[in-house]
């Protein structure tokens, strides 16, 4: 790998690393040379991710905690940051989604989604940025948004609100932390085959319908997020901050549809 994209000597913390896109991204960070701290609630699954990384010769450790628990995040990050001596990269990937018609939805559900998708990212960024500032080496915050960071979608009001909010959070972090050489950017994935979408992909015609409105005419593969993540986590992106990078096969930038056969 080109030196510019190397994450050697860097400590990267990533949430939602127990499965799905988060697991793939964690492995990607490790393959690029980072020492990766795997955060999620499910310790057994985190151990699997860690073992995969170790088996490939990478470095990883597990930090099992509930992202809904603010104190657990603060305590956990302070401990692991102290042990490793630094935190260079913070990837807020963990997210939850729930489909509810707006008139039938409840506030508890809204709060749960906002708390996991936005508040946890805020607390994580705050704690990680403290280490980045203390180390005077700058840092990288990468928040995982969604195509629904910039587009609305029926029955996903809370998710859309949370993913739009993460853009605002990111831009504000970019504005405030830029002078510390800490950048903050969003990766906005489109439709990827992953655990979080299992209930969608099982619906008849859903996969084809999404492909039909995507210029590349297919869903994304988890590995296709890795390159963008490494770019945003590496020296290659040192003057890029506050941006939303769409990785969606072109959905967001185009109007594409297939005529019924």
């Amino acid at each position: 790998m080109l030196e510019l994209f190397s994450l050697k000597q860097k400590v990267a913390v990533i949430t939602g690393a127990s499965r799905g896109l988060g697991r793939t991204m964690a492995k990607g960070l490790a393959a690029a040379g980072a020492q990766v701290v795997l955060v999620a609630r499910d310790e057994a699954k985190l151990n699997e991710t860690r073992d995969d990384i170790l088996a490939e010769g990478g470095q990883a450790s597990v930090l099992a905690l509930d992202l809904a628990d603010e104190e657990a995040i603060r305590t956990g990050i302070r401990r692991i940051g102290g042990e490793l001596g630094r935190i260079d990269i913070c990837v807020n990937n963990a997210g939850v989604i729930n489909w509810q018609p707006v008139l039938e939805s409840d506030v508890e559900d809204f709060e749960r989604i906002m708390d996991t998708n936005v508040k946890a990212a805020f607390v994580m960024s705050q704690e990680c940025a403290a280490f980045m500032r203390a180390g005077s080496r700058g840092g990288r915050i990468v928040n995982i948004g969604s195509i629904l960071s910039t587009l609305g979608r029926a029955k996903l009001h809370a998710y859309c609100a949370s993913k739009s909010a993460i853009v605002g959070l990111t831009r504000s972090l970019a504005a405030e932390l830029g002078r510390e050489n800490i950048t903050a950017n969003v990766i906005a994935p489109g439709y990827f085959i992953s655990d979080i979408n299992a209930s969608l992909t099982s619906r008849p015609g859903y996969i084809e319908a999404v492909s039909g409105v995507t210029p590349m005419e297919r869903w994304g593969r988890a590995e296709e997020l890795v390159g963008t993540l490494i770019y945003l986590a590496s020296d290659a992106s040192s003057f890029v901050t506050g941006q939303v990078i769409h990785v969606d096969g072109g959905i967001q930038a185009t109007f594409t549809f297939q005529l019924a056969a």
Binding site: I147, G152, L200, V210, G212, T254, F255
Partner: protein
């Protein structure tokens, strides 16, 4: 309340006003009290359109000229401005489209589309601004498209022209703003107009588009009028450089053509 939407005493130019959205824009601006100069290339069709509006008691005039001819653009605006002693409102609505897969696309098509959709509005804005700046007031509305903010296959020149027009709108907003002249874009999505007859004739096209729009339908031309009437009135006095999309929600949402 309605006073802030009144265009009484103002002079407006609406291009491409003989049919479709431009006709409805001309009607709406005239209904709000302005004297409207309707322009288009074909004189007969323009006269016919104007006579309908005149019969309704609206203050409209016609000014036929060819947008692809730069001299005619300049001359038309100067003539109107000098005759009236003012020119307060310019609605650059006229535009053309061309469907061509990229590999088969010709440079002449590119030139024709860019000339009509960007160069002509540029010339009209430039000339109109000379009448607006001394009065310290003006309203320019460039009519873009949903394709000013999103891409679409096989209409490369059109998408480029409309994105270009959006850029020009923002540049003029920056330059003319200090003179009390605002410049904004009205960006329509899919409307049931003559210009779309070809695509509407394709089986499944109308429904294919509707199925991606939260409002579940194409726009009807009258729905373009009110938006422009607002944009050229005092009611929009602090809106400048804005791209106002009128597309039933198409470009701001993600809607699948299946119920899921």
């Amino acid at each position: 309340m309605t006073e802030r939407f009144s265009l009484k005493g103002l002079v407006a130019v609406v291009t491409g006003a003989s049919r479709g959205l431009g006709y409805e824009m001309a009607r709406a601006v005239a209904e709000s009290g302005a004297r409207v100069y309707m322009t288009a290339r074909g004189k007969d069709q323009l006269e016919q359109a104007a006579s309908t509006l005149l019969n309704e008691g609206l203050d409209v005039r016609i000014c036929p000229f060819d947008l692809s001819d730069g001299d005619q653009c300049v001359e038309a605006v100067r003539r109107i401005g000098e005759t009236e002693g003012r020119l307060d409102i310019l609605v650059n609505n006229a535009g053309i489209n061309a469907w061509e897969p990229l590999a088969e696309a010709t440079t002449s098509t590119w030139d024709r589309v860019i000339d009509t959709n960007v160069r002509a509005p540029y010339l009209l804005c430039r000339e109109a601004s000379r009448f607006m700046i001394p009065k310290g007031f003006g309203r320019i509305v460039n009519v873009g498209s949903a394709l000013a903010v999103t891409g679409r296959e096989k209409v490369t020149a059109y998408v480029s022209s409309k994105h270009g027009l959006a850029g020009m709108t923002r540049a003029l907003a920056a330059e003319l703003g200090p003179h009390g002249v605002t410049c904004n874009m009205m960006a329509p999505g899919y409307f049931l107009t003559e210009i779309n007859t070809t695509i509407l004739a394709r089986p499944g096209y109308e429904k294919g588009v509707s199925s991606r729009i939260p409002l579940g339908r194409w726009g009807s031309p009258e729905e373009a009028g009110g938006v422009v009437a607002f944009m050229v009135s005092k009611a929009s006095s602090y809106m400048n450089g804005h791209i106002l999309v009128v597309d039933g929600g198409l470009t701001e949402t993600f809607v699948l053509p299946i119920d899921a």
